[in-house]
C-alpha cells in the first residue's frame, strides 16, 4: 500500500474507492451499474492488495446483505451503486439501521424514475434523507462536490458510521463519479495511521460476531417481537438521531454575512452555483451560497438570521425540488424561496441560474 501522500488524476468514483481503503474499509460488494462502474472495477483490483475482500455480487440485494454480514463481523464494509440499484438496496439499508450496524453506501445518482437514463441527477434526495426503506430510520448522508472532497469524505463516513453504529451514505451524482480531477491521496500518518490501521483490522467492536470465546453470545438483529420492546428500541434510535443532529451537521457558507440573496445547492450543483455567486458579485449584487455538506442531518442552522440574514433564497437542484422542502422548513416562512431545477439529463446552467437570481 502507498505510504506517503501522492498526487494523482482520478475520477470521483475511483477517489471514493481509494478513500474508503485509506479509511480502513476491508470489504466491498457491488453489482455493475452505470455511472459508478469505475468504483467497482477499482475495488476489484485494489481491495485484494489491501488484504480485504472484494465480491461481485449476483444482485444489488445480495451486495447490501453481504455488507450486512461483513459489518456484523466487525469489518468496515461498503457497497456502491446508482439510483435503480440503490432502490434495490433499501431493504438491506433498513436492516442495517435496525440492527445498528455501521456501513457505507455510495449512490452516484442518475436520472429516474424507473430505468431512467445514465446522466447525472440529484433525484434521490428524498430517498436518501427521509429513510428510503421501511421504518423510522435515517442514514447519515454526506454530499461531496469535488473529487478531493469525495476522497476525504470517506474517512468521515466510516468514522461516523462506526461512532453512531448506523449506515452512512455518500450521495454524489454521475458527474462527480465520472469527472477526473487532480487528487491528493491522503495517506493517514502518525496517530491517524494507527487509528485507520486498527479500523482495517477487525476493530474492537464488542458487539461484533467473532465467536463467543470468553464472553456471552452476541446476536445481531433488528427483530423485537415482545410487546413494548420495539417502541423502546425506536426511542433509542430517535435519541441517537437527535445526538447526530446536534453534533454532526455540516455545511459550507460563502459570503453570507452581507448577502441579500443566497443560493442553496449541494454536490455538483453547488460548484455551478459558486460560479454564479462570483458572477453576481462582479455585477455588484450581494449574493452568497449555502452548500449543505450533510444532507441528513440537514444544516438548518445555516439559515438562522445570525448566520444568513438574507431575505431571498434560490434553491438549485438537478431535480424538481427535493432539498427545496428542507430549505423551506429551515426558513419557516421568514424569507422568500425560489427554485430552479432540471432533471432527466439536464441541469440548470450558470446563465439560467443567474437570470433567476436577478429576478429576486
Amino acid at each position: 500500500m502507498k505510504k506517503k501522500d501522492v498526487k494523482v488524476l482520478l475520477s470521483g468514483n475511483e477517489a471514493v474507492a481509494e478513500g474508503s481503503i485509506q479509511a480502513g474499509c476491508r470489504f466491498y460488494a457491488g453489482y455493475p451499474i452505470t455511472p459508478q462502474n469505475e468504483l467497482t472495477a477499482y475495488m476489484a483490483r485494489r481491495m485484494p492488495e489491501a488484504g480485504g475482500v472484494f465480491i461481485q455480487a449476483e444482485s444489488e440485494v445480495a451486495a447490501i446483505n453481504m455488507v450486512m454480514g461483513a459489518a456484523a463481523a466487525g469489518v468496515r464494509a461498503m457497497t456502491s451503486s446508482s439510483s435503480p440499484g440503490i432502490s434495490l438496496k433499501q431493504e438491506g439499508i433498513s436492516y442495517l439501521a435496525g440492527a445498528e450496524l455501521p456501513a457505507v453506501i455510495v449512490n452516484m445518482m442518475r436520472g429516474g424514475p424507473g430505468l431512467g437514463n445514465i446522466w447525472p441527477s440529484q433525484s434521490d434526495y428524498f430517498q436518501a434523507t427521509k429513510g428510503g426503506g421501511h421504518g423510522d430510520y435515517h442514514c447519515l448522508v454526506l454530499a461531496p462536490s469535488r473529487v478531493q472532497e469525495a476522497f476525504d469524505s470517506m474517512f468521515s463516513a466510516f468514522d461516523l458510521a462506526d461512532n453512531y453504529r448506523m449506515p452512512a451514505m455518500i450521495l454524489g451524482d454521475g458527474m462527480l463519479g465520472q469527472v477526473m480531477e487532480p487528487l491528493r491521496v491522503r495517506v493517514p500518518s502518525g496517530a491517524a495511521a494507527k487509528k485507520y490501521a486498527k479500523a482495517a483490522l477487525l476493530a474492537s467492536k464488542p458487539w461484533a460476531l467473532t465467536g463467543c470465546a470468553g464472553r456471552k453470545p452476541n446476536v445481531v438483529k433488528s427483530f423485537y417481537l415482545k410487546d413494548g420492546d420495539l417502541e423502546e428500541f425506536n426511542l433509542r434510535l430517535q435519541k441517537k438521531y437527535s445526538l447526530v443532529r446536534a453534533k454532526e451537521t455540516r455545511y459550507e457558507g460563502m459570503m453570507l454575512k452581507d448577502a441579500d440573496l443566497v443560493l442553496v445547492a449541494y454536490g455538483t450543483m453547488a460548484r455551478i452555483c459558486a460560479a454564479v455567486v462570483r458572477q453576481l458579485r462582479s455585477e455588484g449584487k450581494k449574493a452568497g451560497l449555502i452548500r449543505p455538506v450533510t444532507l441528513w442531518p440537514f444544516p438548518a442552522e445555516a439559515f438562522l438570521p445570525s448566520v444568513s440574514p438574507a431575505r431571498a433564497y434560490l434553491v438549485a437542484e438537478m431535480s424538481y425540488g427535493q432539498m427545496l422542502e428542507d430549505v423551506k422548513l429551515a426558513l419557516n416562512g421568514r424569507a422568500r424561496v425560489n427554485f430552479i431545477g432540471r432533471a432527466g439529463g439536464g441541469f440548470p446552467r450558470e446563465e439560467a441560474i443567474a437570470a433567476e437570481a436577478r429576478k429576486l
Binding site: F27, A62, N65, M68, G74, L209, P217, F223, L225
Partner: protein, 242 residues
C-alpha cells in the same frame, strides 16, 4: 451416578415458541449437538432466517446474525470471507432458501462458498399461516392453494437440493427426514459431515431435512411424521444427492 444425557451446551435452557410436534426443535438440537461434538461453540457464527426459526438465536448458545428473508447466504458469505477461521452456517426454511432467496442460494453455492447450510423443508410457510411453499406437494392443500397445488397453475415442487447438486461449487448435498429415531440419527450424521466439510475447507455443503408441520398440515404430530415417511419422501427421496 453417571450423567448420560443432557442439554448440549450450544442449546440454551429456553422454552421454544414452536408448535407441538414441530420439527424445528429436533433440528435445532441436532445442530447444537454437532457443534458441541466438534468443539465449535466458541468459533461458530450462525445465520438465522425469517420464518418459524426467526428467533433460533434465542435457543442457540453461540454468536448469531439475523438475515432478511432469503438473504442468509449473502450475509453468511461475507461473514465467512471476513472471518475464514470461524465456522459459519445458515439455517433456512423452504420459502426462505428456495423462493425469496433462490438467487442468493444458487450464487453462494455456485461460488463454492465454504459454508454449511441446514435447509428445513416442511412444504409450507408456517410463520405466516400455512401458505403454499416452493416445495408444497401437488394436491397439497394450503391457505393459498385451497383446492390443492395444481401443476398447471402453481408449478411443481421445487427440488432445490437436486438443482444445487448440479453446480461444480457444491461439494455435499444430502436429504434426510426427521420422522423416526433412526432417520434422526442419520440426519445428525449428515449435519456432522456438512460441518466437518467446512472445517476441511471442502466447500459448500447442504443438508435438507424433511420436517413436520402438524399445525398447517392439519394433522396430529404422529400423523405428520407418517406423512413424511409415506408421502413426502416419494417427492423428496432420502439419501445422499452429491
Amino acid at each position: 451416578m453417571r450423567k448420560i444425557f443432557s442439554r448440549p451446551e450450544s442449546l440454551r435452557n429456553a422454552v421454544t415458541h414452536y408448535c407441538p410436534g414441530c420439527g424445528h426443535g429436533i433440528a435445532h438440537r441436532l445442530v447444537a449437538e454437532v457443534i458441541d461434538t466438534l468443539g465449535l461453540r466458541e468459533k461458530v457464527i450462525g445465520v438465522a432466517p425469517v420464518g418459524c426459526a426467526v428467533v433460533a438465536y434465542d435457543y442457540w448458545n453461540f454468536d448469531c446474525c439475523e438475515a432478511a428473508h432469503g438473504r442468509a447466504l449473502a450475509v453468511a458469505t461475507a461473514i465467512k470471507r471476513c472471518r475464514p477461521d470461524r465456522t459459519v452456517f445458515t439455517y433456512q426454511g423452504d420459502g426462505d432458501l428456495a423462493a425469496i432467496g433462490t438467487n442468493e442460494t444458487i450464487h453462494a453455492a455456485n461460488r463454492g462458498e465454504n459454508l454449511t447450510v441446514i435447509f428445513v423443508n416442511n412444504a409450507i410457510y408456517g410463520m405466516t399461516g400455512g401458505q403454499m411453499a416452493p416445495t408444497t406437494l401437488l394436491g397439497q392443500v394450503t391457505s393459498t392453494t385451497p383446492l390443492g397445488r395444481q401443476a398447471d397453475l402453481q408449478g411443481y415442487p421445487l427440488k432445490i437440493s437436486e438443482l444445487l447438486a448440479a453446480l461444480p461449487g457444491v461439494k455435499y448435498v444430502e436429504r434426510r427426514g426427521l420422522f423416526s429415531p433412526q432417520e434422526i440419527i442419520r440426519a445428525k450424521a449428515a449435519i456432522h459431515l456438512a460441518f466437518d466439510n467446512q472445517l476441511k475447507k471442502n466447500g459448500f455443503s447442504l443438508v435438507e431435512l424433511l420436517s413436520p408441520c402438524p399445525t398447517y398440515w392439519g394433522m396430529s404430530p404422529v400423523a405428520a411424521m407418517d406423512w413424511i415417511k409415506d408421502t413426502m419422501v416419494k417427492e423428496f427421496p432420502l439419501g445422499r444427492i452429491k
